[in-house]
């Protein structure tokens, strides 16, 4: 059983580049302001979600272990 992730998008920073959606399309989508939102924190494998966060050009996405609070990215 994969661990649960807590994924956060900083809306002061997100520019709607949509790279997160490109890399992890089952996890991220774009809301009506065309900024990223988490549609399913378990939508993709953990490494795919981390890769999506790494590819955010403005580091708007943080990924934590939901249970322990351990920071997985950045």
């Amino acid at each position: 059983m994969a661990r649960q992730l807590k994924i956060t998008v900083d809306y002061n920073v997100c520019v709607g580049n949509a790279m997160c959606e490109t890399f992890a399309q089952n996890t991220f989508g774009l809301n009506e302001d065309r900024q990223s939102y988490v549609k399913d924190a378990a939508g993709d494998p953990e490494e795919t979600i981390i890769e999506a966060a790494e590819n955010c050009p403005v580091t708007a996405i943080t990924v934590e272990d939901a249970e322990t609070g351990e920071m997985l990215f950045p």
Binding site: G16, A18, R34, T59
Partner: protein, 411 residues
Amino acid sequence: MPATVDVHDDIFAPDVIKDPYAYFGALRAAQPVRWNEQYRMWVVTSYERLVWTARHPEYFSSEVALRDNQPPAPGIPEEDMELFGAVRQWLAARFTQNDGAKHKEKRKVVHGFFTPKAMETWRPLVRQTVNDLLDELQGAGRWDVMHDFATPLTYSIIAGLMDIPESDRGFVKELSGRMCGFDGNDPNRIRDYAAGVQAVTDYLAPIVAERVREPGDDLLSVICKGEIMGAYTRDEVLANALLLLVAGHETTNDLIANGVLAFAENAGQFDLLRSDPDAHVVNAVEEALRYDSPLKSVQRVATQDVDMGDGQRVSKDDRVRWVIASANRDPAVFENPDELDITRNPNPHVSFGSGVHHCLGATLARLEGQEAFAELARRYGGFELETDAGALEYLPSIGQRTLLNLPIATR
């Protein structure tokens, strides 16, 4: 229809080139989405409308080179029209000139090179290059920011990232200079540009052929891998290599020169940066980007009729140009928008655009800006303009905010 606004349409007028903030600010206050009859395009000047436009690429296409069927404005000689068609085809091969899924696929080839984490690995090289250049200028007292520091720095970095052979760099710099800095009013600009493109392409073609066969980890090889994985044709490899070579320095040098000018005119803000460069430099670069953005405006083409609000209706195939220089000074978003404030935070400027076409090289521009301004702040007490501020000349371009010279004396 809203009342006609008493603002002229001549976006190349000398006063608009010199001070775009007054002109576009007046437009924004009067009519944030406005039809410019002289250049037959919509001009979007409010922050809110700009972000909305940039984030709706399905209405506003980036396939500008192919879709914009209007004659060049200002006009060019009739005999250059065929060449103009060839230039459009060539420009269309850039990854940026795509929409939707195609754009994603083509951007993804180069995107990984520019992630914040990947870009950090280049910080030591940028720091070293900044120091080498400033060491050479040590004791000079008077120098030109554009020619002696900003351009050599940003060119050297992009040539290093692309692993252009050291011995060729002077030559390539001269060649790529032929693709930059065009006077938007010059009727001969298309043939000059085409000649520059041809010269750089002729130089790069054999190197590209070699790196498609044996790619390394450099940026040019990353572009070549696009061909290996089937995302780019050879023409696209060459067009994107030229795009990144030129875009990789001709905008960041504006960031550095415009920033030094802003600090020369706002000595108190430079003193604040000097008081603790490491603490202030990240926000200082964001503010320099906002205050006098390297790119003033960007063009799209409407894919369908679009209601822009306030009774303004864009028609399919219309040119739409959004003005960064105006949105970044929009008082609806930024307090005291005409003041340079390096502590501004958050600072949601749109100097890199917004949405799916957000500038690929933003991380590189930030890195170079941070290293340059931090080191300038460590070394110098301030800058005096060596000319009357009113005598500074800018490239007559609607897109770029480019100083032709920036002579200073250092303190």
